[in-house]
């Protein structure tokens, strides 16, 4: 999974919840996990409800090759961040974070694209963040959407990485845990990893935009 950063092997086809209180850096960690994948020639599909696709693309392009990056942008259209918004090869737009059907159509299109390019057989699908989806739709609706997406991740032997800006123990989001194989909790300067019968803790810090992970605690 993140071989170069955390020395834990996560089986392919796993769905991972990356949770932490607001401002704890879940988005930053999600982006670094994607960066790591791109550097190893894996494809990344980044479903963004917080930042515009262009901004994410720029952030990644300053660090690595963006050829394997596809973005589903859920905010530019509804906030009218640009005057003319049309899908490009790597950034697809949906009308709003409510439009989960649209999101599923767009990530599926990106999957097809990467599938047709021989070098990208490994794909990571990231949602940043589930919390936004849960603001607009109730938990059953998001559950049904995730049910399809996590199933797709298993079918393609990829990874699903979903950020959540709240405690996954919160009863309001608890049903979603059924679809998740691994939970990574961010606390102050710790990453707590639990799933597949393992529980491990790592130290981490973000320094000048870089994620630095320490050894096991």
């Amino acid at each position: 999974m993140f071989h170069s950063k955390l020395d834990i092997d996560i089986p392919k086809g796993s769905n991972i919840l990356l949770s932490g209180p607001p401002l704890s850096g879940t988005s930053m960690i999600a982006k670094h996990i994607c960066l790591d994948a791109l550097e190893r020639k894996e494809a990344v599909i980044y479903i963004s409800t917080k930042e515009s696709g262009e901004k994410i693309q720029k952030w990644v392009s300053e660090r690595t090759d963006i050829k394997g990056l596809g973005i589903v942008d859920c905010i530019s259209k509804s906030l009218r961040l640009k005057t003319s918004i049309e899908d490009s090869n790597s950034i697809k737009y949906v009308s709003s974070s409510v439009d989960l059907t649209g999101v599923s159509v767009k990530y599926s299109g990106l999957l097809e694209r990467f599938w047709n390019i021989e070098e990208y057989k490994d794909v990571r699908v990231t949602i940043d963040s589930l919390s936004t989806l849960l603001m607009y739709s109730n938990v059953q609706t998001v559950f049904r959407f995730l049910h399809i997406l996590t199933g797709r991740v298993k079918k393609i032997d990829g990874y699903g990485i979903f950020t959540l800006d709240e405690d996954p123990e919160n009863p309001q989001v608890a049903p979603i845990k059924q679809l998740i194989d691994i939970i990574i909790k961010i606390e102050k300067n710790k990453i707590i990893f639990s799933g597949f019968g393992i529980k491990e803790e790592f130290g981490f810090e973000i320094k000048e935009g870089k994620l630095i992970v320490g050894g096991k605690k």
């Binding site: 259209k77 409510v98 999957l111 097809e112 049904r144 393609i156």
Partner: protein, 364 residues
Amino acid sequence: MIPSGIPRLDSFLGGGIPKGKTVMYLIQPEVEGEIFGMQTLYKNLEEGRKGVFITTKSDPQIIKENFEEYGWDISKYGDKLIFVDAYSSLIGSESDAQYLIKNPNDINSYNRIINEIVEESEAIITFGSLSSILDLCGDDAIKHVEKWNKMFNANNAIGVYNFTNWPYSEEIKTKLNEIMNAVIRVGGIGERVILGQYYGILKVDWLKVLVTGPFNAGKSTFVRSLSTRSVSVDRMGTTVALDKGHIEYEDITADIFGTPGQERFDPILKFIANEAMGVFLIIDSTKPESFPRAKSMLEKTRAKGLPSIVVANKQDIQHALSIEEIREKMKLPESIEIVPTDAVKKKGVFEAFEILIKKIERSG
């Protein structure tokens, strides 16, 4: 009939969507299917009809842009297209739509507005996403959808629903299938990644098929053999009024009407043929003397351009004529299929049905 606007679909529907009926596009998640409802709406705007679009997932302006992305300029239809905005209130933004649903989480909020717009003369009422209305209002919303469908029917309006087939309960799926007149499945092809898409018909309840033929050829038996339920008004073993049957076979549901064979009933034949989409002409393979009468009945229905096939019944009887002999005696061109049957034993009747349905589909 109004067109669905979807290539080839109208022929499967027997020419299009009759007024007062409802069609649901049942769309597999991850498959670009909402274009189906948009296409049906746009096609009918083009033909000068009125349309309504109910949006739950973005404001009307973005829906307009979505239409434009598909190359459809809806701005030119002005007042002919009405937007019902069930999105803006959800996120607390302003709306300039003609109709605003003030509380998209409350199904009664939709009821009021649908009551009003249904009176718009025979409009095409398109739901951008019925699944999201269910998500917002809960499963009980289905009962209201059933009422809306009845209102559409009473007002000659047409209801077009996009529905994303998320993993809902079986109960919801069954109920939805029950309250729609036609259900079209839009699905994806591909094992691991969706590489293409297809559509297929799950249900159509308005196809009508006519069964005709000379006296005592076995029409009632044929209708009975084919039907899952059938009613016949028989007197002394022959039909004086109508046989009516109903068939549910694979994806197709059809009503089957039998006509009496005697010449004095020809007006009934004409009456039914006006509504039918295809015709079975049943003949008694053992009675060549009835063939001229059969031929003239066939000509009457073919004059209306109805797809027809000949069902050569009573093939089990020893001196029955062969298919080739019948074709020769009736001087039938190769383009008219002759299907051998033994209606009493249900032999060949479903094959005949399949051939006729395929012919109806091709003719559209």
